[in-house]
């Protein structure tokens, strides 16, 4: 395992950073919010980064992808965090692609992955049913029928659900056949399919999130992701990819909060001195700096672990999600507090970071969820 970036990865980091600074600075996120944009992200920007291979970052070259792997994806996610860039990267390029790569049938992979890579379609994960992340608690049912299934249930907090062409839905198989009794299965469902109703919900970070109602959606066997791989494991793998990437995004936001606050304290004067000269603030910033460094290392470790399919993957991913969530929230709090009253106004960008950090932290399990999971992984 290697935790520092190689030259190629550093180049990617620089170019992604420059691109986002130019094309999607924080003001772009603000504009999307103020315009109450229906997608919650910019289709133009997405087309642009599709050309750079972001949509196909995990997809094999043979299927039209760039095949750069999870560490590269983490680099992009971190840069997206830095400028609050809203893109369907996490939903489509990372979690959906991971599910399809690891659990899609040959037909599914060959039909969908090239289109994802080409930016022709978006796929969203419809997983959560409870306000507090509990992906194993599934009420959505897939009743076996002749030649297929009938899907019913409700999903909430579906990232980019409103803009997606396909959904990957987790469901509980209810026909008690020998191999299927109550077990979890994933289905690739066209968003336009009869019985699928998608309702966008307004979120504090203005991202595209939807509630999805499934009413007797008729599916064929071709909709089901490969039954050879246990649905529960597959689901965890897709989620873990998302969690690692969210950790990287949180890291990017934490870094940016630290940097903006440092800059502000170096300019702002009070009581005849620059705020940065006050030792109590210096020590808090220095402590935060250390925390951000630790977050950076564990986020990287999680991406490397997924890439290498490390035996300790689950623990590392949860440690990364917990640590980056904690550190980003600390960074957000310190940024707000040290900016003082002005940071509390909507005019400044700090509030946008605070909101996106909270949202990213809650997505796919918050700090306490993942600390709990670490304890469980360690067996205590």
């Amino acid at each position: 395992m290697r935790y520092s970036l190689n030259e190629e990865q550093q180049l990617l980091q620089d170019s992604a950073g420059r691109l986002l600074d130019l094309r999607s600075p924080v003001s772009a996120a603000r504009a999307l919010r103020d315009a109450a944009d229906e997608n919650g992200f910019s289709r133009e920007l997405w087309s642009e980064v599709v050309k750079l291979g972001w949509s196909g970052i995990l997809i094999p070259e043979a299927l039209g992808g760039a095949d750069l792997g999870y560490v590269a994806a983490g680099i992009i996610a971190e840069q997206c965090g830095r400028t609050l860039a809203a893109l369907p990267f996490l939903s489509t390029a990372v979690t959906a692609v991971t599910a399809l790569l690891q659990g899609g049938t040959t037909e599914q992979r060959q039909s969908i992955l090239p289109r994802i890579a080409a930016g022709e379609c978006l796929v969203a994960l419809a997983i959560d049913e409870h306000p507090r992340h509990a992906p194993e608690r599934i009420s959505t049912s897939a009743v076996s029928e002749r030649n297929g299934y009938r899907l019913s249930g409700q999903k909430i907090f579906v990232l980019d659900g409103n803009a997606s062409d396909y959904l990957i839905v987790s469901a509980r198989l209810t026909d008690p056949g020998p191999d299927a009794g109550g077990s979890t299965a994933l289905f690739l469902v066209e968003s336009a399919r009869p019985g699928v109703e998608i309702e966008r919900t307004l979120m504090i970070d203005s991202r595209n999130v939807a509630d999805i109602h499934l009413t007797d959606v008729r599916l064929t066997d071709e909709h089901r992701l490969s039954p050879e791989r246990a649905g529960r494991q597959l689901l965890e793998s897709a989620l873990d990819a998302g969690r690692a990437l969210l950790a990287a995004e949180l890291l990017g936001m934490a870094r940016e909060c630290l940097q903006r606050t440092t800059r502000y304290l170096c300019q702002r004067k009070q009581f005849g001195r620059r705020l940065a000269e006050f030792q109590a603030l210096q020590h808090r910033l220095a402590h935060l700096f250390c925390e951000v460094e630790l977050a950076a290392s564990i986020a990287q470790a999680a991406c490397v672990a997924i890439q290498d399919n490390h035996e300790d993957l689950r623990t590392l991913v949860s440690a990364a999600k917990a640590k980056c969530g904690e550190v980003a929230m600390l960074a957000a709090d310190e940024a707000l507090q040290m900016h003082g009253g002005i940071g509390m106004t909507d005019e400044l960008d700090i509030g946008l970071f605070v909101k996106r950090i909270r949202s990213a932290n809650e997505t796919y399990g918050d700090v306490t969820y993942h600390r709990d999971r670490v304890a469980t992984q360690y067996g205590f």
């Binding site: 306000p131 992340h133 307004l202 970070d205 009070q270 507090q337 009253g341 304890a375």
Partner: protein
Amino acid sequence: MEFDDTELGHDVLEHFRSATRAWLEANCPKEMRGPASSEDQVYWGGRRAQFASDAQRAWFERMVVRGWTVPEWPREYGGAGLDVAHASILREEMSRLQCRAPLMSFGISMLGPALMRFASETQKMEHLPRIARGEIRWCQGYSEPGAGSDLASLNTCAEDRGDHFLVSGQKIWTSYADLADWIFCLVRTDPAAERHKGIGFLLIDMAGQGVSTRPIRLISGTSPFCETFFENVRVPKGNLVGSAGGGWEIAKYLLTHERESIGDMSILPPGVARLHKHAILAIGLEHGRLTDGVLRAELSRWEVDSRAFQATLQRLREQATSARGLGAFSSVLKYYGTELNKRKEDLAMSIAGVRGLRWSNQAGAADPSGDTARAWLRSKGNSIEGGTSEIQLNIIAKHLLQLPGA
């Protein structure tokens, strides 16, 4: 017994208690009991005030007549002249029946005590009774853009023009300035004097020419805060409280008061603060414990600190009434109370999960979604407004620990 060791004193107080209880039961309308569930159920008074209901008006007017909007103020200023013991009993009985405050007012909570201490008799007679009767709604003008915690670095100037001051400048964080009638302001009366010396405490009628306000939008949405602008506003000299250079003293006194009430406010009435009950509902129990064991641990730590804080509130209040006032101890309450409240809102968000991330762009819209997030975001300002946590720690270091150079 706590306030008077004689049996006689005890009897007098118990008699007052039962009379008060009877009066409240008879006079406080049913609709005026229980916590206010929306902003318009709170009556703030002022020239443009409207009652939300007949019950609100009746309750307010009955209390005004008895002087019980400001029970501890002297009768000549519109109060009831109650001593600490009697006022406590009134508060206890009101809280027992869950009577709402008949009048919310910065005039009562902030300006009044300062006028009582620093104003001339003429000023007291002019302003205090109108505060007590809710005729004038006041707002406060201390902060200026760019000043932050360094309050004394203010630039709004009041030029001496013989019979009046000419005031120009800008204030920020003037809560409810858009609804207020008058503003009490710190202004620089002498730009040449030492920072803390050339400051005056001025009362300004906002209906006067040259005064304008603009609301501030916070990260949590709309807010009562405003920016307030003064452009060559003429203010009679008689509106200056204390001396032209004595404003800083008054401001410090007022800030102490504000700190106490902010530290205090952060502790919600019992029942509302019962965070763990929400948690049980939202998360569920397994073997009698919250299924999220890590959150359970954090919740329990908060409950412990909250109990300790409530006990501290009570202890300090007892000490304050029995003798010398809270003084710098108010910084302990402000600092700890606001940090505790921030932790509470963080926990509330954790408990709510993704449901807590919902947001409706219109604050106060019929759709209640976004309330958890809004309260959480708003709480972040608690440790900034009314003196940042850092300022409170400086005060504690200086006045309670007496550290050099603090």
